[in-house]
Structure formats: structure tokens, C-alpha cells
Amino acid sequence: MTFLKSAAIAATTLALMAGQGLANDFPSQPVEVVTHASAGGGTDTTARTMLIRARRELGTDAFVQIKKGGGGTVAMSYVSGKPADGHTLMAITPTHLITMARGRAPISVDEIKGVVRSTDDPIILVVSKSSGITSFEDLKAAGEKAPIKWGGTQAGGIDHIAAITFSNKSGVKIAYVPFDGGGAMVTNLMGGNIQAAGLNYGEAVDGIESGDFIPLAVMATKRLSALPDTPTLAELGVEDVNFSTVRGIVVMADTPDERVAALEEKLLKAMNHGTYQAYLEGIGLDNTSIGGAEEWDEQIRSMYANIYQTLGDLGLRK
């Protein structure tokens, strides 16, 4: 088996050296993208939109395979059971990393390798106008006196981890209020039931434009092009709190590097096409969402480290 594998690698390396060989050999069969969420949801739509052009770039059929359940567990065991030959891709989100960090996943973070990042939607720290908080200093002052009522999604999910990590690193006390979706968060922020929330740009934009919401900071390394006046948390002196609703493609780590490189190149090309760009624009993002293998892989690992740490603090890790 190992011999066969190394023989195969040797053969493909030879083919690569011979010139165009590999490009013709891979992909040799339809490519599947395994997702963990329902049809019509964000992850599903992102994968499908990417595949519209990717089919042409890959020169083969490509389809979305839904393996729902267990916070990505079902998808991860499916992918780990397939040959690591670059024909089985997995669309991952922070949910998968959380499942891994909680020790519920069949694979560990070291067993996956980033290929491309397809969306990167940073969490924005937003306060409501009715809370009386207008600046980051106000928030710090208020948060030292009494916990800030902070809305987010599912406890133990990425919003929760982001809020707690922020609280730990900034000293702002937080009472985390979980809601079952972005819509509920926005309406409760609007109605004054909560004072602050971690929102995506698409969720916050209406409130920001109407003046009901004030964006205080972005949980990313760079400012958002749509909100040029909103600083990053690092600029405000709170380092390493970078969280986003991020989606990207990974393969199993033992997939040959040349195939990962080929997939990276073709998927990047597909996502730089107008079809995908229009989709990004439609959900309030831009081209900076798209990232190559190196950047994406690094982000997966730094996010995982933060998640692992915070879940431990919350007592949600085994």
C-alpha cells in the first residue's frame, strides 16, 4: 500500500516533471464537495456558486454532497473514509473546528489541509444607539461596571467564543445572550433588549445605515472596505481577537501536494470569475474574502488555537 502510494507519487512527480502530464491526469473523476448543512443555506449556496465555474476550470463534473449532522461530524467521517486523492473536498466552517476542539470529531485539525478560502465575513462589534454607548471607551467603561448584554448565536458556537475571547483580552465583562439566528439578534439589539452584538456586515448594514447601530470595531486583521472608519480591535489595543464567519475548502492532509496546488489554482480562478464575485457582492462581501492555500491554512490553525483555549475556559471541552 505504502509502496503503491509512493510509486503513485513518484509517477505523478515524474509526470509533472515531464510537463503537462499531471494537469491531464487530475482530476480523473467527478469532484465532490462535502458540506454539513442543509440545501439552500449559506455553506451550500457558497459551494454551489463556486462550482458553477469550477466545473469548467477542473474540466470535470463537480457536485455538492450533503452529509448533514453532528456539527460536521458526519461530513468529516465521510471525507476521512474516502481516498485522499483530491477528488473529495470538504467545505468547512468554524463549526467543524469547534467540533474538533470539543473532541467530538472523527479527525483532528492536523489531518486536514486548507485549499482555498471562499468567504470571510468578519464579526463586527456593534452596539445599539439606545444603549447610550457611542465609542469603544464607553463600552470599556460600561463593561467594567456591569456585564454588557451581548447577543450572539448558539452557546459554544463561534459568536460565543469570539465574545468570550474578546472579554478575556479586553477586560470588558459580558453576559452572553444566545439567539437562534442573526435576525433575532438584530431585532433584539434594535428593541434595546441587548446592548451589543457580534454581527456580520450583511446583518448589521441596515441598522448602521439607519443610525440605530454603531459599529465599534472589526474582529479582523484588516479594516473592512465597506466600513473604512471602523477600526480593527488590534488598533484599539486588543490583540489577536480575529473571528469571522469563514468558509473554505479543505482536503485530507495526506493528499499529494501537487493536487492541492492544482485544486487551489483552479478554484481560485473559478472564484475570481464574475459569477462568484457577484455572489460575494450580493452577501455584502468583496474579493478579499477569497484566499489561497497558505493564508487559509494559517487562519484555520490560528482560529483553532483560539477556539481550543476559549472552549477550555468555558468548560465545554473534553
Partner: protein
């Protein structure tokens, strides 16, 4: 006004019109078929609507809901086998009328009063829902908690069966809702290490199992019963004289039906029973009831159709289902990414009007179907079971699989079906379980959220007037049932005494 036109334009798409007509036709058919109910048909159709846009999908389901309630009256009158529970009261006088050779007149009255009740309630919907939605802007977790408690308090009387069994069923539904990772703590509950259960038990498979699969199992165990069918040449719309006789009843029943429909969890069946009782109470021909009284047809039929529009009010405005079928439609809205509640009108201004027009249209389409085809619809009850139920089984499996494309959902559907079968035999009805499942998440999460907002001080609920209002309603609804029963039994005793005194 702009939104009104917008909603109308949404409906006037050829595809949407076709879907509404299809929904109406299916509704009349399943309504007419004993055993097949509109909630079951909506549950079975729901997975197939995923591929449609939200408005046509919901329009079709809403049309089906309206028409299903009318369809039940066809078989109730012609063969004394109510096609659906809401039509049970219609059979009391409809069947005797048919026996007297007035089947056409009875059906005509049923159709006309159904339309009248339906249209009346839709106008209430169009005015009440946005009004509710505007005050509902002030609905945060504490208000939702109180509202949901009120909704659950209505469970006791949701179906005609035992109140205590309904409450047990509701609690069972809430229990099912707790499976999975808890929203507010992130802790896994009742997952038994099965990854497929982390995200909870989905609503649709349970629904299909409890409503369709359980009924299928029940029907499989029954012997064929030869039915006596009355010949009917044509459906006769009520004459002016007939109208003069029943217009008060229709109006009263429309009001009763709409009101009962608006109450969370109270559906068409209860509305029809009350409508019938009130028709009898105020009638000049009391002694004729049960022997073929036209008012006895108009009363329940106007009420049960009025309840459909009424039930959509809390469903759309607050996200609290007004009836079992409305609970299924609520699930449909959620599948289409629409979050029912005060913000629905903000985000989807055309939707309310589109649903309104779809249901309005359905009312007239089923009237047309009734005029032309009542004779043929009644034949549906002659379809041999051995063909009908296997087809229903296929739909159950496909429907359960379709939503999540997961075989696990099929297993859940089958398990729910078997549980539902035995629960039915033990005298439990599926509606409270579904209601518990729908409201379970909401009641628990809104309480947990409220407690965080109130810094764990439950007394702060009393600082929220809307919450207090619903808590009071809940207390009233819990105690009114036993008190009502007490009064009834007192009256009965009194009546017995009087009767004995006359001897």
C-alpha cells in the same frame, strides 16, 4: 396599499395561480377523504415546496389548508363519514338532509357558508396581523416566553379528547424539542452519542410520522366498511329564502370561528363544534337540529373555515401557530428561511398580502370545484385502500427524506409513526405533540434568554406589561376549562332535576 398591490401581483403569476388551484384541488380531495387530513397533506407536500420560491410555496399550502376544511363537508354530508375532523359537526344535520333527498341543497349551503366564513376571517387577518405585528415590535425574549406559555396553556383543549392526555402529549413534544445541543448552554442533551442527533430532531419527519404514517398504520388495521352513498345530481346554491334563514348563523359562526382560530392551538374542529352549538342555541327551530336543519350545516361550516384565516393571524404575526395545520405551515415558512413574527412584514411586506390573496382565491376556487365536481369528489372515498395507502407510504418516505436528504430522517419518521399509532390507540392525539415540539424550543430558549437579560431575577418579568398580560391569559385559560366543566355539570344537574320534576 402599495403592498396590497404588490401581494396581488405576486399571486397573479401564472405559476403561482396554477399552484393555488392545484393546492385547492388537493385540499378538497384530501379533505373529502376520511383519514387524510389537511395537516397531513400540508406535511407531505411541504418537502416538495423547497424547490419553489417562498411565496408560491406558502400560497399553495395556505390554499390547501382553506380547501381541506371545506372538502371534509362533502363526505360528511353524502356518506356520513366526515373527511376531516372539522367537518364532524357538519354531518349532524348534513347527512339527515342528504337522506331526505336534499344532498345538493346541503352541500350548496356548506359551500356558501364556507366561503362566507373564510372570506370574513381573511379580512380580519389583513387588519389584525399587521396591527399585532406593530405592537409585536416590543416583543423580546420575556414577551415571547409569556406568549408561549399562553400557547402551551391552550393545549388542554386543542382536541376533543382528554385534557390531561393533551397536556401529556404537549409535554412529550417539548421533550422531543430538547434533543440536541442546547442553544443557551451548548450542552448536548439526549443525543446518546449519536452525531445525527446533535442538531436535534427535525420537525418535518416527526410531523409526517405522527400525522400520516400513524394514520396509515391505523387504517391498515381496519376492515373495509361498506358506505351508503346518496345520489346527487348537482350542487344547489342556497336560495334567497335559505339565505334569509341562515345569514345570522353564518355571521355569528364567522365571528366565533375567527376568534377561536386566532387563539393559539385552537383549530377548526373546536370552532365548528362551538359554531354548531351556538347555531342551535340561537335558532328558532331547535327541535329540528339533528334531523336535517340547514342552520346546522351553515353554523359549523362557516365557523371551521373562518378558523383557517383566524389561525393564520398569530402564525404570521407572532410565530405562534393558531392550529395544527398552521403549525405545519409555520414549519414551511421556516424552511423557506422566513422567520415568522413581527419582523416578517418588515422584511417580506408582500408575503402577508400574497397569503391573503391566495387564501381568498382558494375560497372561490373551491366553490367552483364544489359546484362542478362535488359529485365526483364524493367518489374519492371509493378508492380502494390497497391503492391509496401504499401511495401515502411512498409520499411519507420521500417527504421525510427530501428535507435534509438524510436517511436518519426517514428512520425518525418511521419511529414517530409507530409511536403515533400506539399513542392514538391510547387516546392521545398528535396535535398537542406537534404543538409542544414547535413551541418547545421557543419556551425554553426565551426563558433562558430572559433570565440572562434579567440578571437571573425572575421577578423582573413583572416589569414587562405585555408579558404580564399573557401570563394572566394563560392562568385564565388553564382555570377556565375546569370551571367551564363545573358550570356545565351544574347545568346538567339542574336540567336533570327539572326533567325529573316533570315526571
Amino acid at each position: 396599499m402599495e403592498m396590497l398591490v404588490g401581494g396581488l401581483l405576486e399571486i397573479l403569476q401564472p405559476q403561482t395561480l396554477l399552484l393555488i388551484c392545484a393546492g385547492t384541488l388537493v385540499g378538497v380531495l384530501v379533505g373529502a377523504l376520511p383519514g387524510l387530513s389537511s395537516s397531513m397533506a400540508v406535511a407531505l407536500l411541504l418537502p416538495f415546496t423547497i424547490y419553489l420560491d417562498p411565496i408560491p410555496a406558502i400560497a399553495m399550502l395556505a390554499a390547501l389548508y382553506c380547501a381541506g376544511t371545506f372538502g371534509g363537508s362533502i363526505t360528511a354530508i353524502l356518506i356520513n363519514a366526515p373527511g376531516a375532523p372539522p367537518a364532524a359537526a357538519t354531518a349532524f344535520d348534513g347527512y339527515p338532509l342528504a337522506k331526505n333527498g336534499q344532498a345538493g341543497r346541503a352541500l350548496g349551503m356548506a359551500a356558501a357558508s364556507s366561503v362566507a366564513g373564510g372570506v370574513f376571517s381573511l379580512f380580519v387577518l389583513i387588519f389584525a396581523a399587521p396591527f399585532l405585528a406593530t405592537i409585536a415590535y416590543r416583543f423580546g425574549p420575556p414577551e415571547y416566553f409569556a406568549l408561549t406559555v399562553f400557547g402551551l396553556s391552550m393545549l388542554a383543549s386543542i382536541s376533543g379528547k382528554s385534557a390531561i392526555k393533551n397536556l401529556i402529549g404537549g409535554a412529550f413534544g417539548v421533550l422531543i424539542a430538547t434533543v440536541g445541543v442546547d442553544l443557551t448552554t451548548g450542552v448536548e442533551r439526549f443525543t446518546f452519542g449519536v452525531p445525527e442527533l446533535y442538531e436535534g430532531i427535525s420537525f418535518i419527519p416527526v410531523l409526517i410520522g405522527l400525522f400520516a404514517m400513524a394514520e396509515l398504520l391505523d387504517q391498515a388495521g381496519q376492515k373495509d366498511r361498506p358506505l351508503e352513498r346518496f345520489a346527487m345530481s348537482a350542487l344547489k346554491l342556497p336560495t334567497v329564502d335559505d339565505f334569509k334563514r341562515v345569514w345570522k348563523t353564518i355571521l355569528r359562526s364567522s365571528g366565533i370561528g375567527t376568534f377561536v382560530g386566532i387563539l393559539p392551538a385552537e383549530g377548526s374542529t373546536v370552532a365548528a363544534m362551538i359554531g354548531y352549538n351556538e347555531a342551535k342555541r340561537w335558532s328558532k327551530n331547535k327541535e329540528n337540529f339533528g334531523k336535517g336543519e340547514l342552520e346546522g350545516v351553515a353554523g359549523p361550516e362557516a365557523a371551521n373555515n373562518a378558523a383557517t384565516g383566524g389561525a393564520m393571524v398569530p402564525t404570521l404575526a407572532l410565530g405562534i401557530p393558531g392550529s395544527a395545520t398552521a403549525a405545519v405551515i409555520l414549519g414551511g415558512l421556516q424552511i423557506h428561511g422566513l422567520r415568522p413574527g413581527p419582523y416578517l412584514f418588515e422584511n417580506q411586506p408582500n408575503l402577508l398580502y400574497a397569503i391573503f390573496f391566495a387564501m381568498l382565491l382558494a375560497n372561490f376556487v373551491f366553490l367552483a370545484f364544489g359546484l362542478v365536481g362535488a359529485r365526483y369528489f364524493s367518489r374519492i372515498s371509493l378508492i380502494p385502500r390497497q391503492f391509496l395507502w401504499p401511495a401515502v407510504f411512498c409520499l411519507c418516505v420521500v417527504g421525510a427524506f427530501g428535507v435534509g436528504q438524510s436517511l436518519n430522517d426517514v428512520y425518525i419518521m418511521l419511529i414517530a409513526g409507530f409511536i403515533g399509532y400506539f399513542l392514538n390507540r391510547a387516546g392521545f392525539s398528535p396535535a398537542p405533540i406537534i404543538m409542544g415540539l414547535v413551541l418547545g424550543h421557543l419556551v425554553e430558549n426565551s426563558l433562558a434568554q430572559s433570565m440572562i437579560l434579567f440578571d437571573q431575577d425572575a421577578w423582573k418579568f413583572f416589569t414587562r406589561p405585555i408579558a404580564v398580560f399573557f401570563f394572566i391569559l394563560a392562568v385564565v385559560s388553564i382555570f377556565s376549562t375546569p370551571i367551564g366543566r363545573l358550570i356545565k355539570s351544574r347545568k346538567r344537574e339542574e336540567a336533570d332535576r327539572l326533567a325529573h320534576g316533570n315526571e
